[in-house]
């Protein structure tokens, strides 16, 4: 078993134009910075990206948008990005907005081997248009399908060479369920350790879901909304 790759360039080497990618993170928190940089460098395009947000103009997925690498974004909230708005209004970029819990659960369903789930969110709204509705216990639910993604790219705090992952604080967010949902899952970690160095009870995502892992470098971890109180 050898899941360890040297760096981001090697991890993304077989991602080609036209691929569907899941990218972990909430806002700029817990995003796979190294792999995004490698995808930008690689210059592939026509990508479909499933990610809660689309980054900001000069960071996160915003860097891929600047290079016009993204054909379609599937997200719940995309408001922080002027280039995104420009491409959307000019018709260069397609966007599918879906409720945040639905996004998370469609990833989860994929990782749990469930083809579809019935969800409450969006019933009676445009999100439900064209979708099957069923009533359970007097409530109406929409049928939502599991995502089918070629790659999932996630960021963890710590991982071992067997691909077991541990996340830190709210940088966990979408990373675990996306890690479980990719046909090929790539994990970049801040600390790559040997098997046995992580207590098995502390593992958030077991390595069975992870195909490639590497220790990332030079994390910027940009803060989107720095809010503080006075001492």
């Amino acid at each position: 078993m050898n899941k360890v790759v040297a760096h981001a360039d090697e991890a993304v080497k077989d991602i080609n134009s036209g691929a569907t990618l899941m990218l972990g993170g909430f806002g700029l928190c817990g995003i796979p910075e190294n792999c995004i940089a490698a995808l930008v460098k690689k210059g592939i395009n026509n990508l479909t990206c499933i990610s809660n947000n689309a980054g900001v103009d000069d960071f996160g997925i915003g860097l891929m948008l600047q290079k016009k690498q993204v054909k379609k974004m599937i997200s719940s909230y995309v408001g922080e990005n002027a280039e995104f708005e420009r491409q959307l209004l000019s018709g260069e970029l397609e966007v599918e907005l879906i409720p945040q819990g639905t996004l998370a659960t469609r990833c989860m369903a994929s990782g749990y081997g469930m083809p579809a789930v019935y969800l409450l969110a969006g019933y009676g709204t445009e999100v439900a248009e064209g979708k099957e509705v069923r009533t359970f216990n007097g409530k109406n639910y929409i049928l939502e399908y599991a995502f089918d993604s070629d790659f999932a790219i996630v960021k963890a705090w710590k991982g071992d060479t067997m691909g077991n992952l541990v996340f830190k604080e709210t940088a966990r967010n979408f990373n675990p369920m996306m890690a479980m949902a990719g046909k090929i899952t790539i994990a970049e970690v801040e600390h790559l350790v040997q098997p046995g160095e992580i207590d098995p009870d502390h593992i958030h995502v077991p390595g069975i879901y992870v195909n490639r892992i590497f220790q990332g470098s030079n994390y910027e971890k940009r803060i989107e909304q720095r809010t503080v109180r006075k001492k």
Partner: protein, 218 residues
Amino acid sequence: MALNKEQIAQRIAKELQDGFYVNLGIGIPTLVANYIPEGVNVVLQSENGLLGMGPFPYEGEEDPDLINAGKQTVTTLPGSAIFDSAMSFGMIRAGRVDLTVLGAMEVADNGDIANWKIPGKMVKGMGGAMDLVAAAKNIIVAMQHTNPKGESKLLPKCTLPLTGVNCIKKVVTDLGVFDITDEGFVCIEYAPGVTIDEIKAKTAGRLKIAEDVKEIVL
């Protein structure tokens, strides 16, 4: 005087009960955390995966890995718990969150809400709003009674794309407190100095005035 934003938040805070798990949306709802009554312990849920959200960090102690759903740096508290996004919406969907407070562009007298999209304007997305309104057992809307043009936001039917249907139970505005029942909006409290006639004039949806209507006490 109509209530200001802080006072709307202060009035909503009186709805909090000891032991509540509460999700506060962005804007006026966030301010509710500043007015939690003495002796009432609530746990704040942030849908990006945090229960037990603490105050903003002290300057120099910001942690980029610890943010709230508004992407602001926050802190944890003793007893906080962190989890992934699927579990976060799982607990919302399963009805474990006792109270959700959120803003709105429009609320209809049947409990429909619109707060995510204005046709013709850049659409930022619904984030977690549709999940929250569909599932939370108790939702309070905090908003201004009228829009900047002076038009009522309490309507017979929403004109904007919906976020959820038949889900809002209570609305607190700068003018008063309104329950939503089968009979439409029921004004149960009015802001100090605001007349019932003003509330009637500025409410487009079906409106009843409760027999025991009283002035808001903050």
